[in-house]
Amino acid sequence: MAPRAALTIALIAIAFCAPLFASEFWVTLLMQIMIFGLLALSTDLLLGQAGLFSLCHAAFFALSAYTVAILQVRHGFGTALAAPIGILAGTALAFVFASAVRTRGVYFILITLAFGYIVWGVAYRWASFTGGDNGVTGVPFPSLGSLRVASTTDYYYVVLSVVLVVAAAYRVLVTSPFGLALRGIKSSESRMRSLGYNVGQHLYVAFVLSGLIASIAGVLYVYFNRFVNPTAASFPISVEAVLMTIVGGTGTILGPFLGSGIILVLRNWASGYFHYYTAVLGVVFIVTVLWAPQGIMGLLARWRSGNRGEGA
């Protein structure tokens, strides 16, 4: 695993130094890549580890973002309270939506899709509370007592630190007995049941943890964006989170961030030239599924193992 470790260290080093040489445009884009990479990572706990394809992660992301925005803007809460409450709210919603693990396959996809639309509908239609189309504006930079984020660069380091801490915790989680059990369930549910595992309970907990990570991403997002509107809860956000994971490589930690980087850079570049940049994303996705189903991380692994003849 040495090459992967080297790649990780190189990327972290670049991330740390970026504000020193990169323009504000790139610093902002990098922040966005990290935040959406974290959201993508949250979907990969279900997809890459447990084998469940969720299409409702924008719901947790948006609920925590809305909670923070409403508490800070309308009720004068500080970051120290608003951020944890936001994460709690998103995770609590995941507790409810986790009931989807009673289903599998296409039914799981459809029920999570429906869950996602409920939250988007509420954000969009309950205008008196959520601000409707306009959302909630005027979210300040976060501050903790005398520690204040005063610039994009300051916040960049906040995002980087949170993402690194969550990714490190995630790494421990997926190597733990719990994470191993999720991969076992992905491989053979019936075998895991006969080994003594309550498969439903494991998947339920995985779903809630996944919602927790999505909620953390939501909090980072609202302070980055400084406002939140129903777009945050929309279907494309949920889909893109999963696409980023697939393009980068499922079942890896670096993959979702690489996928996020590719999709967001492409969008920024392509939207300058084409009106239909989503078509470009479509092509990227098709190419990935047809020729690199294991994503970029899969390509790297294949390139490294050369012609050992191991399947993807």
Partner: protein, 249 residues
């Protein structure tokens, strides 16, 4: 509960629509006994087996393990009570390594399966115990191989190791030798024969020679009913068994 049979099935029936796959079957397997279920295709062996294992639930009747009623108990809870099983078609986690499979098996009945804050590799003694389990089934040295690169025979061996890893009191073997070559069958049935005598075995086996060599007692099923139960010596001489089983097939 001492003295209670390891597995007791009382007046069990399993109905699929209009088909009575198992029709009023009662049997009792003593602790430490090796019981083989045989019978022609469609006799209800697999359905009965699934009702004991918990993969399916009986329509009528009850299943008991060491005096505990397990009729409606979920499969994973039966494992917690000391049941282990193998599958007819190898069912192991093919994306994981041999040792990862075994780790899952060893932790399946252990609260530590919920640990999230440290790597599964650092649990004291787990790997040593896993290596011992692998040697028992002849898979020593294969610990770090991904299961999808194992041969079918090796997967059968791993399957047995998984069933034994939680130190079960009762092991259900669903056609353990299915899909193996004749020489592999010999070796594999040898593995089963060498298992500690305090483990109760209930198995389905189509290979009559292997079945009779392993069994203490044989139960013959036909059309959902038990038509004979007795020692391997007597089963071969029973007229009814000869007619429905050895006569046709």
């Amino acid at each position: 509960m001492s003295g209670a049979p390891a597995i007791a099935v009382e007046r069990l029936a399993k109905v699929f629509g209009g088909l009575r796959a198992v029709d009023d079957v009662s049997l009792s397997v003593e602790a430490g006994e090796r019981r083989v279920l045989i019978g022609p295709n469609g006799a209800g062996k697999t359905t009965l087996f699934h009702c004991i294992a918990g993969t399916q639930q009986a329509t009528h009747g009850s299943v008991w393990m060491f005096g505990t009623n397990i009729t409606t108990l979920a499969e994973h809870r039966r494992t917690g009570l000391g049941m282990g099983r193998t599958f007819q078609i190898s069912n192991v986690c093919t994306d994981l390594t041999v040792m990862e499979n075994l780790t899952l098996a060893m932790l399946g009945t252990d609260r530590r399966k919920w640990v999230m804050y440290k790597s599964a590799r650092v649990f004291a003694g787990l790997r040593d115990r896993g290596s011992a389990e692998l040697s028992r089934v002849g898979l020593q040295g294969r610990a770090d191989e991904t299961v999808k690169f194992l041969s079918y025979g090796e997967r059968r061996q791993l399957e047995l190791a998984l069933a034994l890893a939680s130190n079960p009191k009762v092991v259900l073997l669903d056609e353990p030798c299915a899909g193996l070559s004749p020489s592999e069958r010999q070796r594999f049935s040898g593995l089963i024969r060498e298992l500690p005598r305090d483990i109760t075995l209930v198995m389905i086996e189509h290979d009559i020679d292997i079945a009779l060599a392993l069994a203490d007692r044989v139960t013959v099923l036909h059309r959902g009913n038990i038509i004979f139960e007795g020692t391997p010596g007597k089963v071969q001489t029973n007229a009814q068994v000869r007619e429905v089983y050895f006569g046709r097939v």
